[in-house]
């Protein structure tokens, strides 16, 4: 077997690919589910923390800043392993899926809280004053006037962050989650051939290229003429 044939046999082995396609497809679905859950819960938690922070309660804000800095500093993989391997010794055990979801949610929450917070503080004071002067309350002003502007401003960094965190779903493979990478790895082990990894890479492209496109579309859709 010369070099090119060897390369094709290793990475584009059709027989192996066909055999393990259903496994990779199942991993693809699991990745999509995990990614969607992480993005929804992470952004919702981040936005909630940013809103809480806007109330300006000192001790609460210190707690928020501490939490957010902690999860921004720790590598996602470390958090996943702490939750999955560490917590059971304290009597709390969770599935690999839950540990991965929770870890990535905490990380996305922390980064998006900072982004939402930056957006809220970037809305001009005059916007608050105009709304409050009509008799609108604090929460009404936040919800109807400030957040719509803050979120629009923060869509580019938020979509970037959401895309990068969903790539972290691959870390689930370490704690036995059969998402794309996990299912590709076990297929590789069973078949003794790395072609399933090629399939996995293709699956990631199929997932993320449209997601990047969606991010761009959202950015364009929510930009408004000033």
């Amino acid at each position: 077997m010369d070099g090119l044939d060897g390369f094709i046999f290793s990475f584009f082995n059709l027989r192996v690919m066909v055999e393990y396609l259903p496994d990779i497809a199942a991993g693809f679905l699991l990745t999509v589910v995990l990614a969607v859950l992480v993005v929804i819960s992470g952004l919702a938690a981040g936005l909630s923390l940013a809103v809480l922070r806007s109330f300006g309660v000192r001790p609460l804000n210190w707690l928020i800043i501490f939490t957010v800095d902690l999860f921004r500093a720790l590598p996602s993989l470390v958090i996943i392993m702490l939750l999955f391997f560490g917590l059971p010794t304290a009597g709390i055990s969770m599935s690999g899926f839950t540990a991965t979801w929770l870890s990535l949610t905490l990380v996305l929450m922390s980064f998006s809280e900072e982004i939402f917070w930056a957006g809220i503080t970037a809305v001009q004071k005059g916007q608050w004053e105009a709304a409050r002067s009509t008799g609108l309350g604090y929460l009404g002003t936040l919800r109807l006037v400030v957040l719509p502007q803050a979120i629009r401003m923060t869509i580019p960094p938020l979509t970037n962050r959401a895309i990068s965190i969903t790539k972290g779903t691959a870390l689930g493979s370490v704690v036995g989650v059969s998402e794309i990478l996990g299912s590709a790895q076990s297929a590789m082990a069973f078949s003794s051939n790395p072609s399933p990894l090629t399939l996995g890479a293709i699956a990631y492209l199929i997932l993320f290229v449209p997601m990047i496109g969606l991010g761009r579309w959202i950015e364009a859709r929510f930009a408004w003429r000033r």
Binding site: G126, L136, G140, W224, R225, R226
Partner: protein, 246 residues
């Protein structure tokens, strides 16, 4: 003088070490147009912002229709519902159309249903001459048009009084006229107004009373003819001379 809508007494306000208002009194009667003039830094905008508590006075009393609004337990949102405010920098909501800007408080503060809110907002926009711009976004409007939307936003709430904080200072000169015309129409319709502005010609023509402030104090007040024609205080005289030169 008719009954006061606003009666502010001995208002003190400082920012850190700096005393901005030093025991100011201000009365505003029903249907009156009160003009507040004075050199920059005299505290006139701060005084205006104290009237709806965008700035919190350190001490003093502000009664509106007989109710003390500086008390802790007062519902400030209910008070502000009846005090419109127009800002120097318009402060329109950039993510909403002209109509959306005007209907927001009608729907979410007064609780009007969408149809009723829109009908009232359209009437207000018509009053400021912008019936043909209702679906424009603020960014698509000139400064003068934006300020007129902001006036429509204030008057659609049918307030007891409208506060104008340098409403024409951010406008190109050729756009000032349209805003002043709207204010003149409002005045003729009997709207009570307190205006902080440098538009002296407008003050002469439209104001019932002119208040001259300097260094956080009210130095003089009276009908425009006497303030501009025969100012008593030397600071007023100097200020008027300065303005007339331009």
């Amino acid at each position: 003088m008719a009954d006061s809508i606003i009666s502010a007494r001995a208002i003190w306000k400082s920012f850190g070490e700096l005393s901005v208002l030093k025991g100011i009194d201000l009365e505003v009667a029903e249907k009156e147009l009160v003009f507040v003039i004075g050199p920059s830094g005299s505290g006139k905008s701060t005084l205006l912002r104290c009237l709806n508590r965008l700035e919190e006075p350190d001490s003093g009393s502000i009664r509106m229709d007989g109710t003390e609004i500086l008390e802790k337990k007062v519902d400030i949102n209910a008070v502000r519902r009846r005090i419109g405010m127009v800002f120097q920098s318009f402060n329109l909501y950039p993510h909403m159309s002209a109509l959306g800007n005007v209907t927001l408080a009608l729907r979410h503060v007064l609780g009007l249903p969408r149809d009723a809110a829109e009908a009232r907002a359209l009437a207000a926009l018509e009053r400021v001459g912008l019936a043909d711009r209702v679906s424009h976004m603020p960014g698509q409007l000139s400064g003068g048009q934006q300020q007129r939307v902001a006036i429509a936003r204030a008057i659609a709430m049918e307030p007891r009084v409208v506060l104008f904080d340098e409403p024409t200072s951010a406008l190109d000169p050729e756009l000032v006229g349209s805003v002043l015309q709207v204010m003149r129409d409002l005045r003729e319709s009997g709207m009570t107004m307190v205006v902080v502005s440098h538009e002296m010609a407008f003050a002469r023509a439209a104001a019932d009373r002119v208040v001259f402030m300097a260094d956080g104090e009210k130095l003089e007040e009276g009908p425009p003819a006497s303030i501009f024609g025969n100012p008593r205080h030397e600071r007023t005289q100097a200020f008027i001379r300065q303005i007339e030169r331009h």
